[in-house]
């Protein structure tokens, strides 16, 4: 375990030094995400001009939800997104070989080797927005409830990671991952709205098979509603199932990997 920690610290060091070589890009990325936050906040503000509640939440609760979304997105962008983006290129160019021969888990290394230092600053900003949204919330919020919320939000980030890589792993067979990547990001839009607006079979799919609706909404529900045990249990089960599926798909994918570029 300590070997993996040391390895990850090295990855962090290299990522930061690389990010600081491209300073303009560093600040462009920060600006991009700040604008994305602003767009979401204005969207919710405009929506709540016409309805008092959305998915059972008032504007103050929707702000906490939106801020949670920013944090979850920033965590994903910082830790996993670049790695998932690069993965199909490594497979298609045959560059995966360099990672497979190393004496560490290939999934660990390929999932975490690049730390997006520029997105890390966004994570700091997103946490600030979340702190502001929680502080301005007019109702009582207990420290325990907030801790559970944060823990579930992080679990949601882990589920996002599993989903993203599950969408990328078929590149071992398909070779062109552009469609799958677009599908992942297309479906990821479901994360950005309260889960209670989804009904029927779509809701069942979005909370189990393609659990986009639970990533940020469920932690927020755990914060404002009473059924925390069921919410945490649901998220835990989904996370375990997806991670198990990812491990199986990864192993099968490696077996199918020919090492020849395409």
């Amino acid at each position: 375990m300590s070997r993996y920690l040391v390895l990850y610290l090295h990855c962090l060091r290299f990522s930061f030094s690389r990010a600081m070589e491209f300073r303009v890009d560093f600040f462009f990325r920060v600006g991009m995400d700040v604008l994305w936050y602003a767009v979401h906040l204005v969207f919710f503000w405009a929506i709540y001009q016409h309805a008092p509640l959305l998915g059972g939440w008032d504007f103050d609760q929707a702000l906490v939800f939106a801020a949670g979304l920013f944090v979850a997105d920033a965590v994903h962008m910082t830790l996993f997104s670049n790695n998932a983006w690069m993965f199909p290129l490594l497979v298609n160019r045959g560059d995966l070989d360099y990672y497979l021969v190393r004496p560490v888990s290939s999934l660990f290394f390929l999932s975490l080797r690049e730390f997006a230092a520029n997105s890390f600053l966004n994570l700091v900003i997103a946490v600030g927005v979340l702190a502001w949204a929680l502080a301005r919330y007019p109702g009582p919020l207990e420290a325990t409830a907030v801790s559970v919320y944060v823990a579930l939000l992080l679990l949601g980030c882990f589920i996002t990671y599993c989903l993203h890589f599950l969408f990328m792993v078929p590149v071992f067979w398909m070779h062109n991952a552009a469609g799958l990547r677009d599908t992942f990001y297309g479906l990821n839009r479901f994360t950005a709205r309260p889960d209670a607006i989804y009904t029927g079979w779509v809701r069942r799919v979005l909370t189990t098979l393609l659990p986009y609706a639970i990533l940020v909404s469920f932690p927020t529900r755990a914060l404002f509603e009473s059924d925390v045990g069921a919410i945490a249990g649901h998220m835990g089960l989904v996370a375990a199932a997806l991670f198990a599926l990812l491990l199986v798909a990864w192993r099968r994918g490696l077996r199918a990997y020919s090492s020849a570029s395409s």
Binding site: V24, G179, R193
Partner: protein, 270 residues
């Protein structure tokens, strides 16, 4: 660039884009399906909560039609924003071969961009037609041959205006190491302020008046509202004039940035 060459480049690009059929269908069905499902659930919940017949001047059916049209029109207006654009040629030094050719680089890239619209046009016809049949024309009552005739130049203007702004952002690659973030930022801002995310009538009145003078409305809201017959002829002319004025601004800006960038282009890539 001669019209014949422009057409040839556009045709070649259209063929190339249609050759990835699996990607096309995944992108078409999952992309449109997800986007529309999201809108449907959002507005169903909104109308249920608001307790009113209309929000921002739209009934539920009209709102759905607005989104079907805006999703499809936005694909045609945006085209391919990231892949195969000027920034890639600047980073990889591939711009060199275009600079020595006896033709306009901008013209060549715009022809490619027009060609890359074919999948979006196919999707627009496919999903738009399907929706028209399934909905029994509900929400399309305002669409007439005249609104279609007015919407076509509005879409052409929107596409060119969008391309010029995106072109300018790509050309910043002469100075910046990565312009991807700028393009994404532009996409977010244009979607919200241009009416692709929500109809502009949902914003407070004062804000709507300001938005009429910005370039974003000409990108999405103007073509869509025109097509759906929600804009009078006078308002359409005003909108088109504002769009044309921004087109001139965008063209001058693009030209200035391109010229300055070329002066310091080394041609070796990064």
């Amino acid at each position: 660039m001669s019209p014949g060459l422009f057409l040839h480049v556009a045709t070649m690009e259209a063929r190339r884009r249609m050759s990835y059929r699996v990607d096309f269908w995944i992108n078409a069905i999952a992309g449109f399906g997800a986007e529309f499902a999201l809108v449907w659930f959002l507005w169903k919940a909104m109308f249920a909560m608001s307790g009113t017949e209309a929000i921002g001047g739209y009934t539920f059916d009209q709102m759905l039609v607005y989104y079907v049209v805006v999703i499809l029109v936005a694909k045609v207006v945006r085209g391919v924003e990231f892949e195969g654009q000027a920034s890639e040629d600047i980073y990889q030094g591939g711009l060199n071969r275009y600079l020595v050719l006896p033709g306009s680089y901008f013209g060549f890239k715009y022809a490619q961009s027009i060609g890359s619209l074919l999948p979006a046009l196919v999707q627009a016809v496919l999903f738009g037609g399907l929706w028209l049949v399934l909905s029994g024309r509900t929400g399309f009552e305002g669409v007439t041959p005249a609104t279609v005739a007015m919407a076509i130049p509005a879409i052409v203007l929107a596409n060119l205006l969008h391309y010029l702004f995106v072109w300018t952002l790509h050309v910043i690659a002469f100075w910046a190491d990565n312009v991807w973030s700028l393009l994404v930022a532009w996409r977010h801002a244009a979607a919200l302020l241009g009416g692709a995310m929500i109809p502009l009538t949902l914003f407070p009145t004062g804000m709507q008046s300001t938005l009429e003078w910005l370039p974003f409305r000409a990108l999405f809201a103007l073509p869509v509202e025109t097509l759906l017959g929600r804009v009078t002829f006078e308002a359409w002319v005003d909108g088109m004039l504002v769009g044309c004025a921004w087109l001139v601004v965008a063209a001058l800006l693009a030209r200035a940035v391109w010229r300055r960038g070329c002066l310091q282009y080394s041609g070796i890539g990064i």
